[in-house]
Point group: C3
């Protein structure tokens, strides 16, 4: 129950990030809602398409549709206020990322994927929605550029897959994996960690 509430919070935050980006790109209200849905549900849809869950589970449960649609509408109206909540949004986004990644990895393991495949699919679940948002808005995906976002996602997947290989109980491992994602993301934001760029490029 707590997990479901947290997951819906994560969906709402991902939806808000998609809606904010859409508002800034001057999409109309409906485009904003479509971007909110795509950003919030895109990672899960990609996960289900890769794993053969038809139709994708996030499209068949109405709260998973209602929450991002309403969030998109609220951001459309209150975007200046939402934009000010930067710190809260970054924290909630890290929590959402952690839950998406560990949930995606668990789902992949449950459907018989090998551990390294499950890691990759978990990472894709976490970063896929943001990547879709950026591709639709004609940006190079932020998740590939900014403070070790994808690395944090991969670490969460490794914890869950590792726990599964070692036969550890699933729920605490998922919580630990999510917590690791949150801690790494917050540390990266706080200490302004960035992964290195290649050398020898002109500035």
């Amino acid at each position: 129950m707590v997990l479901i509430v947290l997951e819906l919070v994560g969906i709402a935050v991902f939806a808000a990030s998609g809606a904010l980006a859409a508002v800034r790109t001057r999409l109309d209200v409906f485009g904003v809602i479509v971007l909110a849905l795509t950003t919030a549900l895109g990672g899960g849809v990609i996960r289900d398409v890769l794993l053969g869950v038809h139709p994708p589970s996030s499209l068949t449960k109405w709260p998973y549709l209602l929450v991002p649609a309403v969030t998109g509408l609220l951001v459309f109206w209150f975007h200046p206020q939402v934009a000010k909540l930067r710190r809260a949004v970054l924290l909630l986004d890290a929590i959402g990322l952690g839950l998406f990644v560990t949930g995606g990895t668990s789902t992949a393991l449950a459907l018989g994927a090998p551990p390294y495949t499950a890691c990759l699919i978990g990472m894709t679940t976490g970063i896929g929605g943001g990547a879709l948002r950026d591709v639709l808005l004609r940006e190079i995906p932020l998740v590939l550029r900014r403070e070790i976002y994808a690395v944090a996602a991969l670490l969460g997947g490794l914890v869950v897959a590792g726990g599964s290989v070692l036969g550890l109980p699933e729920e605490p491992v998922a919580l630990a994996g999510s917590a690791l994602v949150v801690v790494v993301r917050l540390l990266a934001l706080w200490r302004k960690w960035n992964a290195p760029l290649a050398h020898g490029l002109d500035a």
Copy 2:
């Protein structure tokens, strides 16, 4: 039979819109044909991937491949003339959108998707090809920006899903849904309806 002919007309018009955009972006003749196929069949392929129809049905029926390929070639040669048929193209595009949306919604319902899922998948069937076209040509998808295109698609899906919930006969409901899409699109074009933008953005 009439429906199949209309659907092929819709495919041809979607193919023409993809080919025209590709000609303007200076793709070569083969790129133009690939864009014609992608725009015409992309929505149906996404629908089938979401619903687990393998391989996607539009890739397994040769008229669905021949019509957009030939259309792409014709547009490559006669693009100045096609560009002049703006009104006819907009009308046929609205008809194609209506048929794609109602067909997609019906297919999703027939494969056991709940009504709201079927609506979303129907809308995606209608706007997915155009979104793919714009992403490949590095544009922000027009379907998310222009005169209530996606709203019209959603309304068509709602009619079909609503009719299914109420147990109404399928064919007349699909026709009514398609007609609604066409009417809304033509009204939007005629009256220059646009969905609102968010307030408080710099001009």
Copy 3:
């Protein structure tokens, strides 16, 4: 065995092309590795999603993940040197394209797709990874613009599908198809063949 080695070489070359493009777009080291994986495996993943192979086979065999990841890391460090190997890279890329296309076409035929569908899916297997790379890096896909890349891919698919229709033995036909792709690509590069652009466009 030789085929597997050649396929891994093709994967490494595709990974290198994704990593080089990512380095030039100033992605960080992890973004470079993600792009290497996406470019190398994207075509095969799209093929498996279209054909209903869950999870995609290239995600479930670890050499197919290790080779592009290591390649991405090497390119990250040695990109100036790799960029100088232009001729070798183009040759290996042509070989990779040939193997991807013929392998994709054979897989589709084996899973019951009709010949023309198998051709299309084979072509998509060959050019899908490069298209994903360019979409993620906000470029119009090179495969749709440059020297008859997609045409060469389609020809390879036609040989394999034609051989299957005629009941010819599979392996020699696949080799002949791959060789045709390589020859056409190298001729196109050598003679600077390009498919025609539409007439009547402003220069």
